[in-house]
């Protein structure tokens, strides 16, 4: 008997030293500084939650065949902000927008308020909004230095003439920029799905499927890297209101694989998962 107990302990400690500590909920460990980079060693301080993904099959267009199986999540907080690292397997990097090309992306979703009755896990519901922080691979590539020309997407493209870059418009002048906007209606309206940006993420709010809209700024930041056959993405934002030490709220995740032609409603997602805040000691 005594020997069996010792063997069990040895086995357990071996298991611990091999893989990260797994937890059944997402635990945001308190820490003074938050890592911006997905490869930062600080992530080792946080336990890992393995979130199973299911197809979005509630509203059309639905996903009928599962793609990405799971997302591995770690979380850290400094009390003001909370940062998450999401990792999933995707051996094809899809970061170039184009006709009928979809882009790799991920998102976190947190109820706007901590309350007993949770909003619908899929995009919230009327009167029960959810806050969504969304990261996209093409935005990351823009941040990482990709230029804002068609040749950055199609190196062999040949262009005869753009009216908004023609003489007498001086390159970079206000008049030239104003003219360029006339040929980019979405940008003119401030709908920056493409083009220059300062962060690869955006703050959104939703009150149900199909209602996703820009939300009040939660100071979203992010950084993603494609490595070892998958994505590793950091998303950080203001800590959810009311998430005091040892308190709980909920979180859900979504992952899109461009190579699987996923975008918008065509995504893999989780239901609500408990998100708790815990001090390191």
């Amino acid at each position: 008997m005594r020997y069996a107990g010792v063997t069990l302990m040895i086995l357990l400690s071996a298991a611990c030293s091999k893989g990260p500590k797994q937890v059944a909920e997402v635990v945001a460990m308190e820490r003074a500084g938050l890592p911006a980079n997905p490869t930062d060693a600080a992530w080792e301080e946080a336990p890992e939650h393995l979130a199973k993904l299911v197809p979005q099959d509630q509203v059309e267009p639905r996903v009928l065949t599962p793609t990405t199986g799971e997302v591995r999540v770690r979380a850290l907080t400094n009390g003001n902000e909370v940062a998450f690292r999401l990792e999933w397997v995707d051996d094809s990097k899809s970061d170039k927008p184009g006709p009928t090309k979809m882009i790799d992306a991920c998102a976190i979703q947190i109820p706007a308020r901590i309350e007993k009755d949770l909003p619908e896990p899929q995009m919230g519901q009327e009167g029960k909004p959810v806050q969504v922080t969304y990261w996209r691979a093409d935005w990351q590539s823009t941040i990482d230095g990709r230029g804002d020309t068609i040749r950055d997407l199609y190196p062999n493209a040949s262009i005869d003439h753009y009216p908004h870059e023609a003489k007498p418009l001086a390159p970079g002048s206000d008049a030239q920029k104003e003219m360029a906007l006339r040929y980019s209606p979405a940008r003119a309206l401030g709908n920056m799905r493409g083009g220059p940006r300062s962060v690869p993420v955006e703050d959104l709010v939703a009150n149900g499927p199909g209602t996703l809209a820009p939300g009040p700024s939660l100071g979203a930041k992010g950084k993603g890297a494609h490595q070892k056959g998958g994505w590793s993405v950091v998303i950080s934002r203001k800590i959810p209101e009311g998430l005091a030490p040892n308190q709980k709220t909920h979180i859900a995740f979504a992952v899109w694989q461009g190579s699987q032609r996923e975008s918008g409603a065509r995504k893999m997602r989780t239901g609500w998962i408990t998100l708790s805040r815990r001090s390191g000691s």
Partner: protein, 375 residues
């Protein structure tokens, strides 16, 4: 899905939203018999609307040679192949529309073109239906055929682009039925690109949103026809407003051509969108081909067009095509002259049905010169 009435199919059908027709519907008639594929329309549109970054490949207006041309590649054949059994019983469609045959989990029966499918806008240009055997081209009429099909967005009554968008970023204007993508709301999912059977929504990789023909609405709002209409060299196009079949006004040029003479027909009515660009079918192409493109009325429409010379009202109206920049709401023939007026009755244009013929002798003794005939 809701039940709606589609008069082009002669029956009710399923659609994603309940029936909600605009106060009036922007519509157009294109006479395929007059198109010369000069592509002036294509360039008029291109230079006006799609000269920006990310719009390089877009042709909101394109002109393809049938039977082999298509843009994007095989847009029509792919869907015709997916949509089985498109049979008609008289004027009633017995097959399924793209809404009725939507697979599980989808809003419409659609498909996504590959990037390369946009690389051949001129594929099949001027290729005729069959091999021209040696010497055959010397015979008239030619045994083989082709024709030009000019295409813009159809500003459909039941748009598949609109039905496909899961976030309602596409809307149909209640005042004129023009279908627009809200550039402030679109998130670039490209569901509309997938859903539109005519492939008339295009994704802009530089703005990350989908864009489409806007029917030159700033011009329409002033009663002026769109760019591709007023620049058309062949004068094949006429823009206006089409009434519902139960509210036809015989002096409305579009009502007259579509509802009364039934000479102008929708493109692929079997898809079920009630498209609002109507085509006078090419009279030299086989009726079976025209029926596949334009529905069961193609044979009668070809006959009516052939007979236009004996049908003064129809002939007079055909003379109004390309005669004025303004949108003609009413037409009236008096003798050999046709007049077009706006919706308040003010005359816009007056066109003689026959131009005078001047014969100049080959030798001009006064100026001491010999004239040479130029074809």
């Amino acid at each position: 899905m809701a039940r709606v009435y589609n008069w082009q199919l002669g029956r009710e059908m399923s659609y994603w939203y309940p029936e909600s027709r605009p106060q009036r519907q922007f519509a157009a008639v294109f006479d395929t018999n007059k198109c010369i594929a000069c592509q002036t329309c294509t360039l008029a549109c291109k230079t006006t609307w799609t000269s920006g970054k990310g719009q390089e490949y877009m042709l909101w207006n394109n002109v393809e040679t049938k039977p082999y041309g298509s843009y994007p590649l095989a847009y029509d054949l792919k869907l015709l192949d997916m949509l089985n059994g498109q049979s008609w019983a008289g004027n009633k469609y017995e097959g399924q529309t793209i809404f009725e045959s939507a697979p599980a989990g989808e809003r419409v029966l659609g498909w996504r073109p590959e990037e390369q499918d946009y690389a051949y806008p001129n594929v099949g240009e001027d290729d005729c239906a069959n091999q021209v055997d040696s010497g055959a081209f010397l015979n008239l009429p030619h045994m083989n055929w082709f024709f030009y099909l000019a295409r813009i967005c159809n500003h459909c009554t039941y748009p598949a682009c609109l039905a496909s968008c899961p976030r309602g970023s596409i809307y149909k204007r209640p005042e004129d039925g023009i279908v627009l993508v809200d550039q402030g709301r679109c998130r670039g999912y490209q569901e509309c690109v997938r859903g539109c059977p005519y492939k008339k929504v295009f994704f802009n990789p530089m703005t990350g949103t989908s864009e489409k023909c806007i029917a030159c609405f700033p011009k329409i709002e002033q009663g002026i026809q769109p760019q591709c209409f007023v620049n058309c060299i062949g004068k094949i196009r006429l823009a206006g407003y089409l009434s519902r079949p139960d509210q036809v006004r015989p002096d409305n040029p579009l009502d007259y051509l579509v509802h009364i003479k039934k000479i102008a027909l929708p493109l692929f009515p079997q898809f079920g969108l009630e498209p609002n660009v109507y085509y006078i079918p090419p009279i030299h192409a086989p009726v079976s081909f025209n029926q596949q493109l334009f529905g069961p009325g193609a044979g009668e429409a070809m006959k009516a067009y052939r007979n236009a010379a004996n049908d003064p009202d129809l002939a007079s109206l055909l003379c109004l095509f390309g005669s004025t920049e303004m949108m003609v709401s009413r037409f009236r023939r008096t003798g050999d002259v046709v007049a077009g007026s706006d919706d308040k009755g003010a005359e816009l244009v007056r066109v003689p049905m026959r131009e005078p013929v001047y014969v100049r002798p080959a030798v001009d003794p006064k100026n001491q010169l010999v004239r040479i005939n130029c074809p």
